[in-house]
């Protein structure tokens, strides 16, 4: 008597979770499609887009740059240590370049920007939701998806490739600094090894990943902020959900894109 009832409750809870997950995925997909559809339907708000380009792109430069610099340096040391085990220390420049450009530049940049930007977008839009500013936009004949969501998503999608391009250069430079100053590589040889080894497809893969990550992190910030619960707790939860979901989706998308470019 007890066991079938327990089993039924257990299965029901799994079913509820699965339905909840599907419902969430459906809502997110519709939200993403609506956002993209506004790209092709006026009016557009160039001033808001410009502001977001500055806020998301320009102001994320220090975070992304520093992350890349230290990662490049650490990577050079690790590869040198690993390579020394089978007398392959000379691979440091090429592996640093490939590691940074194909993988660590976009992924770490994406995660750092997700922490900085997804959270701030979710908090800002969530606060606007709970203080009725989003309702106010509607009553002022302004579509909140056009005015709030599209500029942020567009700005992140456009600026992330630029940020990652800079981060790739800075990351390689971090490896170069450590390679030359700490590990005794010849500067000219280090640069030659780096440039010779990189292929256009490495750079394209890096930039495509960056654009996808930019779209994902801004979309998650907007989605969770837009559907924020009431009060400070609701906004806090939205912010946490935005960063967590953006980070997970970036890592998942990274795997899929790596497979695609493999």
């Amino acid at each position: 008597m007890f066991l079938p009832r327990f089993l039924a409750l257990f299965l029901a809870s799994i079913g509820r979770s699965a339905i909840g997950l599907l419902r969430g995925a459906g809502r997110l997909t519709l939200f993403a499609l609506e956002t993209v559809s506004h790209l092709f339907r006026p009016p557009w708000y160039p001033v808001e887009i410009g502001q977001q380009l500055l806020r998301i792109g320009y102001f994320s430069l220090p975070v992304v740059g520093l992350t890349a610099l230290f990662t490049g340096g650490a990577l050079a040391l690790q590869i040198y240590a690993g390579g020394a085990r089978f007398n392959a220390e000379t691979v440091v420049p090429s592996i640093v370049a490939i590691g940074i450009v194909r993988e660590l530049g976009p992924v770490l940049g994406g995660l750092m920007v997700a922490g900085r930007v997804s959270s701030s977008i979710a908090a800002e839009i969530g606060t606007m939701r709970v203080t009725e500013q989003i309702d106010a936009l509607t009553t002022l004949s302004t579509n909140p998806m056009k005015y709030l969501v599209l500029p942020r998503v567009l700005a992140a999608t456009l600026t992330m490739p630029l940020l990652v391009a800079i981060s790739d250069v800075v990351g390689v430079f971090g490896g170069f600094l450590v390679g030359v100053e700490r590990l005794g590589f010849n500067p000219a040889a280090y640069i030659r090894n780096t440039v010779d080894f990189l292929e256009p497809s490495d750079i394209i893969s890096s930039l495509v990943k960056a654009a996808v990550f930019g779209f994902v992190l801004a979309l998650m910030g907007c989605f969770h902020g837009y559907h924020s619960g009431r009060g400070a707790q609701g906004v806090g939860q939205a912010t946490t959900n935005a960063v967590v979901s953006a980070s997970i989706l970036i890592l998942a998308a990274n795997y899929l894109l790596t497979e695609a470019f493999f």
């Binding site: 606060t127 509607t138 009553t139 002022l140």
Partner: protein, 253 residues
């Protein structure tokens, strides 16, 4: 044949998580009339406004604007002639006071040039008793009363035909509340606008209303002229307007 009401609700239902908040609301507001909706917290006053605006979708019944169901209404056209004062002001934090007031004029179909929009905003601010020195401040730099006035200036910025006021005096001291009430009455009369106000404040009711409707249990419990509320003899209305703890309305909901 009588003219169509400006706004009409017919047997409107709205539930949240299976719990009905509106359970068959019937309301009629004629053009140029000022209706005040009263009722306890959680009786669905704000939900009623949001259903009229289409921010929330009602589950059943009809919401008609000028006799047209809102589903078939040119919503953008309606909103162009609409203004709303929100309970907390709902001013945009990232914009200055004048940019808030002139928002619709700057982001509408034919945006006004910056200088012209600013002049118009200053004129509207003056109309609600604020000087031009407030124009370049941010909402966070204003007191609660000033924020309400800015919200009011934004609501009237395009001389709307329909205005909604959501708890216009909530959180204000009695003197500022009285100033806001008088302003609302003046503006509504001056513009000939159709107005719906929701409030708990009986001073607002007596100052602003032509007609009053009381919501209770998801329905309109009583509706009539403002002059009739003291003699209506409805025990629910009587308890509410006198603020008594004892009566048919449970004090703890």
């Amino acid at each position: 044949m009588s003219a169509a009401a400006k706004i009409e609700l017919r047997d409107v239902w709205k539930s949240f998580d299976g719990k009905p908040v509106l359970a068959g609301v019937d309301l009629k507001v004629m053009t140029g009339e000022s209706l005040v909706i009263i009722g306890g917290s959680g009786t669905g006053k704000s939900v009623t406004l949001k259903c009229i605006l289409g921010i929330l979708h009602h589950d059943r019944g009809d919401v008609l604007i000028d006799g047209v169901p809102i589903g078939r209404l040119d919503r953008r056209g309606f909103l162009r002639h609409f203004g709303m004062l929100f309970q907390g002001g709902a001013l945009f934090d990232s914009l200055t006071v004048w940019q808030n007031v002139a928002f619709r004029r700057r982001h509408g179909r034919k945006p006004l040039p910056r200088r012209e929009a600013r002049d118009l905003a200053i004129e509207k601010l003056r109309r609600v008793g604020l000087g031009p020195e407030t124009a370049d401040l941010y909402p966070a730099e204003l007191s609660g009363g000033m924020q309400k006035r800015v919200g009011l200036a934004r609501a009237i910025a395009t001389d709307p035909q329909v205005i909604f006021f959501d708890e216009p005096t909530a959180g204000l001291d009695p003197i500022m509340a009285s100033v806001i009430n008088d302003l609302i009455r003046e503006l509504v009369s001056e513009m000939g606008a159709t107005a719906i106000t929701i409030t708990h404040d009986m001073t607002t009711v007596r100052t602003v209303a032509d007609h009053v409707a009381m919501l209770h249990g998801g329905k309109v419990r009583w509706a009539g002229l403002v002059g009739e509320i003291d003699t209506a003899g409805d025990p629910y209305l009587d308890q509410f307007i006198h603020g008594r703890a004892e009566g048919p309305i449970e004090a703890v909901r």
